[in-house]
């Protein structure tokens, strides 16, 4: 059987403890994944400084070029996977097999990861706000005002999700920022992180800069505890535990929203495509997918139009290029999520507008369990379903007074605000609860690589120090 090894500073290790990566439909194992024990992780992480030095030998320019090569290799190369080789198509099929994601969505995600690799210079400019690469290479610059940055930790530990491969593009810039990576893959998606690592290695990155530890909950926590900086993807419960630890950047639910101001609301029909795309692209599986549509008027009509538009998304085969929704790898999870929506609907003040366009929300198709797109019209922001996010295309449509925006939105990762009203725009700009702000008709899920969100990776990995330097005169008698 295919075996996915642990990578210990790039060195492959086959553990006696393995966990199967199972096909979402048949539950048959398609690979065995070596599991790292707690002590092994801790012992390896004693060598973080040495790993960092291997990246420090590269200039930032060299690392940017290396990323460009790695991006092409990731997208097109046949790469080692344990004792086997993995072609791009193997990768697509394997990822689809354990996550249920249709091939077409995985290919789109591959393209996003590729774009992150190949746009690294733009990305670094965005992250560092145009900081001279000299500062990253030398630690300081005396051009203009003196400036100096230092790394906050020897490496970055990342506890990864299984929801969508493109999410991995968030940590890729760490290598260009000379920070070794310690990755714990999601149990259903071991494929993307190890393929990214292999692409880096083939492109010439030092193996010591990469640790890959499939492990249990305790091992994941140890990674976050033992690395200087961390990143955690997870649900509300998972991220809550680390909420007070400033070393860890949390990526929980996004609660992203489309907002239409009073000045544009009468033209709402023009934006239905954009809103539908924000909700349903990538199968609605990302934190940057919209889960709320908050408008000042016409909420009923907008909800009807969205429900009708999204009702065209139906289950299709994994290799169907028109597939737009993924089945649930664990059918019970799909049923439970649909049940949670039902429980919310049982409370007065919410209506499943999509119900009239489809027989049921949770359906079986060719042995797979799908939760179909769902638009809920909520009467008030206090309703249980008003501000919820699920792993399928779901959004609540609410009518609120413009004066209540943005306070009424609550913490929101991405807000797309369709308005020309400067007062509303200014309030959104001033809001501490909006992670990423799109003014105008930009879908919530369209990312500009020079605009980092959910924390700036450079700020996460580096801190600025005060710096002054006076050149010492040469000692008397020293050789000239």
């Amino acid at each position: 059987m295919l075996h996915i090894p642990i990578l210990r500073h790039g060195r492959e290790y086959r553990s006696i403890d393995t966990a199967p990566a199972v096909h979402f439909l048949t539950r048959e194992p398609i690979a065995e994944v070596s599991q790292a024990n707690f002590g092994l992780i801790r012992r390896d992480l004693m060598k973080q400084e040495a790993a960092r030095e291997t990246l420090a030998r590269f200039s930032t320019r060299e690392l940017i070029e290396l990323c460009e090569r790695a991006g092409e290799i990731f997208l097109n190369g046949t790469l080692p996977l344990g004792d086997a080789q993995q072609s791009p198509q193997d990768y697509v099929e394997q990822t689809s097999a354990t996550t249920g994601m249709p091939w077409v969505l995985i290919r789109r995600n591959m393209a996003k990861v590729h774009a992150m690799f190949t746009s690294m210079e733009t990305v670094l400019n965005g992250l560092t706000r145009g900081l001279s690469m000299e500062v990253l290479d030398r630690g300081y610059s005396m051009a203009g005002s003196p400036i100096s940055f230092f790394p906050r930790g020897a490496s970055m530990g990342v506890v990864l999700p299984s929801n969508s491969p493109a999410v991995h593009s968030l940590w890729i810039p760490a290598i260009a920022l000379k920070t070794p990576l310690v990755l714990k893959p999601g149990s259903a998606e071991p494929w993307t992180p190890i393929r990214i690592i292999q692409a880096f290695l083939q492109a010439g990155a030092p193996p010591e800069a990469f640790c890959y530890y499939p492990t249990d909950h305790g091992g994941a926590n140890e990674i976050l505890r033992s690395t200087g900086r961390g990143m955690l993807f997870g649900d509300v419960g998972a991220v809550k535990h680390w909420a007070t630890d400033p070393r860890i950047e949390l990526h929980g639910p996004g609660y992203s929203k489309v907002v239409i101001g009073d000045d544009c609301i009468d033209d709402w029909e023009r934006y239905i495509d954009l809103i539908a795309r924000s909700i349903a692209d990538n199968g609605g599986r990302s934190c940057i997918n919209a889960s709320g549509v908050w408008v000042t008027r016409h909420a009923d009509k907008i909800a009807e139009a969205l429900a009708e538009r999204l009702s065209t998304i139906r289950p299709r085969a994994a290799d169907d290029p028109e597939a737009g929704i993924a089945p649930f790898a664990n059918p019970e999870v799909g049923r439970r999520i649909s049940g949670m929506v039902d429980a919310g609907l049982a409370e007065p003040g919410a209506r499943d507008v999509s119900a009239q366009y489809r027989p049921e929300r949770c359906v079986e198709w060719q042995g797979c369990t799908y939760v179909l797109p769902t638009i809920v019209r909520c009467d008030a922001p206090e309703h249980t379903l008003a501000n919820k996010e699920y792993l399928f295309p779901f959004a609540s449509v609410l009518e609120v007074a413009e004066s209540e925006i943005p306070e009424v939105l609550g913490p929101t990762l991405v807000v797309t605000a369709i308005t020309r009203n400067p007062l509303l725009i200014n309030r959104l700009l001033a809001s501490p609860h909006v992670g990423r702000l799109n003014i105008g008709a930009v879908p919530t899920n369209v990312i500009s690589w020079d605009q980092p969100h959910e924390g700036n990776l450079f700020d996460h990995l580096y801190a600025r120090r005060a710096f002054q330097m006076v050149e010492e005169p040469a000692l008397a008698g020293a050789a000239q």
Binding site: G39, L40, M46, H241
Partner: protein
Amino acid sequence: MATSLTIPSSLEPRMAEARARLDAWTREMIQWHFSPETGAPFWLDYAAKLGWDPRKEIHNYEDLDKLGFFQDEWLRGGPVERWIPRGLAGKPIYVFETGGSTGVPKSRISSEDFRVDYEHFSETLPNEGFPKGSDWIHVGPSGPRRLRLAVEHLAQHRGGTCFSVDLDPRWVIKLIKRGAMAEVEAYKRHVIDQALTIMKAHDSVQCMFTTPKLLEALCERINLRKAGIKGIFCGGTEMTPQWVRFAHEELLEGVAFAPTYGNTLMGLAVSRPVKAEDGWAIVYYPPSPRAMVEVVNPQKPTEVVGYGETGRVRLTTLTREFFVPRFLERDEAERDVPYEKYPWDGVRNVRPFQKLEKSVVEGVY
């Protein structure tokens, strides 16, 4: 990968002999524990409620099934005197507590058992790794547990002395339950700091008892061999084959390693030599006839599973001080074949029992 589960025919006479010894010992212990002159009040009361006399009905080890299953809840609360056999009246009695859980502790009485058990265990230790006359250090649970006194006696029995550090596993479990992992780490460091201080001050220390987690923590700070350690006696929590391999390949650097399985209710089950070609499995053998460790069908725990099959671990302790028939442990394992040195069944790869796993918080101590 795993070694054969076939029993060599040459071993069969010794197996039969061991079984006969176990049956005879069972009869002797039943006489002791259920005779009004020598038995403990608990078991005499128990027999009175049975309506039959165990001394007449129990003729061999199998017959212990007639007594039903020992409930460890019986060990919570007092008076502990009800467990003291009348035949031991007047002897100094220790009270030891089991496990790391909180609430009213489970207690067992002991007089000499911990010494006898560890003297028997001493016979299994190789002198090269655990030199006679060398000093020991105990880096593990202390306080009301018997382990600290037992390790000290082991050292004394082998002609050395034993240093010790404090470790309260109940505090560690409280910290884990409230997610205070930084405090767990600080406490672990505090324990290791104390051990290192002793080891630096006393270069006569060549042998150590510690737990798997503490061994890892210790090896993050020192090289055992360079620190003068020749043998590690390890126990207290689960050791998976992967962990054992990791320890051999990356922590021990040739230092002798004696993994054990046991608790306060029984003596020590020792491991046959651990080998890479056996998948780094640990197979434990109980100190028969004083205690037995068997693997039983969880649905029908009077039934021992077949060789190589998985089941729940069942303990039986048969000493004059303490009688524990048919106690179902919170562990599972595979039944393994008798071994030359131990011609009775072994238990392979003991780990927390899957059905109970959610309710068991195993310490990091």
